[in-house]
Subunit: 191 residues, 4 copies
């Protein structure tokens, strides 16, 4: 299997997930602006999840770009990542409909954590298949972001029961951290 094939399938799943999430924005019955007000938290959660899926899509592409050959292990590590990403619309809808209450906020963080860990496993699987001197291994380096994100999620989940806005702020912070393109990988790509 060529990396292009795996990438096209992943692109397809992420494209569908992004669009399916918007179905949680149920068309309201009223025809005035008040009818939109209860949708505001759902909309904001949608924006956050959209950005997260965009980050995964973009980083996944950069990673696959440095992958020469797809093994069975990489294939299933990738499906494992897609599995957790496929739960994003569900937790987005749950957190959005429940106005950022503690349990849905914590579960949202749990799915982000599982997605982050499965992305990390995928990265390790690719590096293991290519050797420690592969371009990906060098580009990733110490992988500060990849290691600090799960820690932040682990911190954010219990904090949802103290004050869910702290957790939300951490989720947004992690997203902003990733939004900045990774200079190490970028620089390798343009060498």
């Amino acid at each position: 299997m060529s990396p292009a094939r795996l990438e096209a399938f992943t692109d397809g799943v992420i494209a569908i997930l992004i669009t399916i999430m918007v179905l949680e924005l149920k068309v309201p019955h009223g025809a005035d602006l008040d009818a939109l007000r209860p949708l505001l938290p759902i909309f904001l959660t949608y924006v956050l999840s959209f950005v997260y899926l965009g980050i995964y899509w973009s980083n996944h592409h950069h990673m696959l770009h440095m992958t020469k050959r797809i093994t069975g292990g990489i294939l299933w590590a990738n499906l494992h990542l897609l599995f957790w990403l496929s739960l994003v619309p569900f937790v987005t809808g749950w957190m959005g409909e429940n106005h950022f209450e503690p349990v849905p906020t914590g579960v949202y963080g749990g799915v982000l954590l599982a997605a982050g860990v499965s992305y990390y496993i995928l990265q390790l699987t690719i590096i293991a298949a290519q050797g420690a001197n592969s371009p990906l291994a060098e580009a990733v380096g110490r992988d500060f972001k990849g290691k600090v994100s799960p820690i932040l999620y682990v911190v954010a989940i219990p904090l949802a029961f103290v004050n869910e806005w702290i957790s939300d702020a951490i989720y947004i912070g992690v997203a902003l951290m990733w939004l900045v393109p990774d200079p190490r990988i970028e620089s390798r790509l343009h060498e």
Copy 2:
């Protein structure tokens, strides 16, 4: 990232948006033609939004055709465009179910405006990355349509509170204006 990759992802999202919109046409319970009558405004809005998404798909393709390299900025400007397009099924359903009432009609125009502006930003981002002498910059030229469309939307939104049919007429007019293929870009493509 190659332009083909970005284009395939965008194609996927637009293809899904077009098909998800049709889910707002809920199967009626009755089995006679009367049962279809309340669906008529939803159907007409669907036609309008279908044409708009078709225009974005077609113009996006022409633009990407003149883009050599995808930077991180282009990637996120493109996701930004997809974000606003992803709200089209929602506002289509809302305007359709509320028989073209003022607020949904205005909000529909607001999403068209945001999509138009984000398309314009994407175009500027590509031109900025390629230089003022790039084929896209030359082909776009003064970009009459790209500049006049947002102005027309801005005019149409408040007019929805005077008479929503005026706004609908403007939305249809802008779509017709874009339906005509852009002779400047077309001519450059066939040079």
Copy 3:
């Protein structure tokens, strides 16, 4: 725009339509076989529509295979075809949920007719762009199937008000007629 691009987009839309149709098969509440019985007409309509979309997908591919260049006209003739195909899930659900009653059966035929006519228009548009001596023009020849199908739909629609089973039989007959691969196009492809 390359034919491959147009084909990939069309493939995407048809793949989504096929899968969205299955959402009309709503999960029943009961847990015995009786709970499945009311789903039988929906299931049968789903099978019929699945075969129709499969036929369009397959024939569309053959046609695009003989198309060298995509003009703006071809692009919009193709979107026009996709528009009518996008209504297939809706009429499938309506006919299925109403146990093949006359009006939904007639409307189902109406959408098949519109899709057939728009396919024919797309074919004419491609031939017009390529000239009367193009491979497609020669392969299509007198196009018996393409001309007889709309006639059969036009006959089937009013017959739905006499006995809807006659119309259903005609729809199935037309599908079977197309299921047989077109020997003229096939032979040209393998020359």
Copy 4:
């Protein structure tokens, strides 16, 4: 039609099926962990079906990799497989919502059986088109897994009426059997 084309279409349908299944995980109204409890059987069924679709996707890819030319027969044998796979979200939702009761459990096995048989038919169709000395024929060999899976499903379906957990165990067992990559095909690919 090139194998790449058929593969892209199949990838698209499977990507959509995987994501549509997650829509059965309906967002609960409560905001505590109790609200998630009734979703547990649906979630577990989703995991099982996700793994099955992943297996089909992966094996389908390996098979197409050894297919040189797509005939009309292969095209329709492939659509036939997609038809049965398209029913997976429906039976997943039914089995999940009914807490693994006998009839939905048996019907779930019935769809797995039909998908397995249609995959086998597709494999036979490709081998028939390529000859008994083709790489696929050699790689598949006696095809132990392909023959034993339908037998296991046939055993599992009636056992659902004795104790549905036996059937569930068999479904999981078959999935695990396939999860292990096929050494014969893998070895041929890397020769």
